[in-house]
């Protein structure tokens, strides 16, 4: 857990509502990203994110920093809210459920391993330098969290072509990261 996060939680548990607002400002985006990648429309994701934090606010007394980090705890609350709200509908097959889960893994990783920041920044530069069509494929997959099948439908291309283009993009990214000296 990041020191500031631990501090916010401690202050919030001591009754400081402003500390909770800071925590919300920091994590609302992650929760909404998870909900969007789980298939919820923007307005519903907004409402559900509020519901997640209302539950977090009400059950803060059950959170024990000594027993685990905050992000997995938040993830559990978000998963429960999402599952209940989604009901028995079939999962959207244009979105990859693994990518929804990757949001919380990334949030946790960001808190636990800030040293990766240099690599991420280099990668960001490399993605910006990709040809625009390849960058779009990378964004659809890794930012929107789409499956290759969903991307194929959105782009009206065969799925094999989408895989091929993603492969091309990754090869260029690897080359770029090596040229920046991030990787040997």
């Amino acid at each position: 857990m990041e020191p500031r996060e631990a501090e916010w939680i401690a202050r919030w548990q001591a009754g400081d509502r402003a500390a909770f607002d800071r925590l919300y400002a920091h994590y609302a985006g992650w929760v909404m990203a998870y909900l969007r990648r789980s298939g919820f429309e923007p307005a519903d994701a907004d409402d559900l994110a509020q519901e997640v934090f209302v539950r977090v606010l009400k059950s803060i007394h059950t959170f024990d920093a000594a027993r685990g980090a905050f992000v997995p705890w938040l993830a559990t609350v978000a998963r429960n809210v999402a599952r209940r709200s989604w009901g028995g509908r079939p999962s959207p097959d244009h979105l990859d459920p693994e990518m929804a889960e990757a949001v919380f893994a990334a949030a946790e990783d960001a808190a636990a391993r800030p040293e990766t920041r240099e690599e991420i920044e280099a990668l960001r530069g490399c993605i910006d330098a990709l040809p625009p069509d390849l960058a779009r494929f990378v964004r659809l997959r890794y930012v929107e969290g789409m499956t290759t099948r969903g991307m194929a439908e959105a782009e009206r291309l065969p799925e094999a072509t989408v895989r091929l283009r993603l492969g091309e993009a990754k090869a260029l990214l690897e080359k770029c990261l090596k040229s920046k000296g991030v990787w040997e």
């Binding site: 907004d46 990518m99 990334a106 990766t116 964004r139 094999a160």
Partner: protein, 270 residues
């Protein structure tokens, strides 16, 4: 070298996932409504929900303003008790400014309307994508159910073949494999197997199936050596393990099960 490449592939995938999640969170953070612990129905609507209403209200207000101006202008010109020439000029100027302001407001609203129309089109498109995905899923489900029915038929054929050991049984199995187009379906499915382990199993089953297709059941020694080959390469446990791991295309799973069924029949009939 290959190991290093594999390591880089894995690391790149991890970095892309983290970058993508950060980007998504950053974007969502920018549009997240301020926190409110009131129930949803009592919460203020976020800006993007107000926007269409606000635009419609503004449009109506400007329309009403234009109407008023258009009805006032001729009356001012015709007024019998017209003010002095200087005052009239000043009023005219103010009116012109008001009209110019209104035209500007109308232009801004028109821009806003276009942006909203684009947003609606985008949302409609994404809902079309979701509908198309649902239709696609329904089609696949129907195809899967049809194949499962066919598998039951195949199962019966395999049992009947096994009940007729030797040449007759093998001929029945060859017919079952051909009727179920196992070889041609296998060729179509090959491209849909990203997993290397599943692909190896798939290849091994395809080789045995091709040999079964080419086998002359009347040739006793050929039949015996083929039966031995099938018995010695029992891929059943590996297939079950790979299928338990999940992730395989349902059509590929179905093909592996059917092929395994036919080859198990060979063991009994051969």
């Amino acid at each position: 070298m290959t190991q290093a490449n594999g390591k880089h592939d894995e690391r790149l995938e991890q970095l892309l996932r983290r970058w993508g999640a950060e980007e998504a969170a950053r974007r969502q953070s920018a549009v997240a409504a301020p926190f409110s612990d009131r129930p949803p129905e009592a919460r203020p609507w976020p800006l993007r929900r107000w926007l269409p209403l606000a635009a419609a209200f503004a449009f109506l207000a400007v329309g009403a303003g234009l109407y008023l101006v258009s009805t006032l202008s001729p009356r001012m010109g015709e007024s019998p008790a017209a003010p002095g020439a200087g005052e009239a000029k000043e009023i005219r100027k103010q009116l012109d400014r008001a009209l110019a302001d209104l035209a500007e407001a109308r232009r801004l609203l028109e821009d806003q309307k276009q942006a909203l129309a684009a947003e609606v089109a985008r949302l409609r498109q994404s809902s079309d994508t979701a509908l198309a995905a649902q239709r696609d899923a329904e089609k696949k489900l129907a195809a899967l159910e049809a194949r499962q029915t066919a598998t039951m038929g195949l199962l019966q054929q395999v049992h009947l073949a096994a009940a007729t050991p030797g040449e007759g049984g093998i001929r029945a199995l060859q017919a079952a494999a051909r009727e179920n187009r196992l070889l041609s379906r296998g060729a179509e499915l090959r491209a849909r197997i990203p997993n290397q382990a599943v692909r190896r199993l798939f290849d091994a089953q395809e080789v045995l199936l091709t040999q079964l297709d080419l086998l002359n059941p009347g040739n006793r020694s050929e039949l015996e050596s083929f039966t031995k080959l099938v018995q010695s390469t029992d891929l059943g446990p590996q297939i079950r393990e790979a299928l338990r791991a999940g992730g395989a295309d349902p059509a590929v799973t179905q093909w592996l099960i059917e092929t395994q069924l036919v080859l198990s029949g060979v063991k009994r009939a051969g």
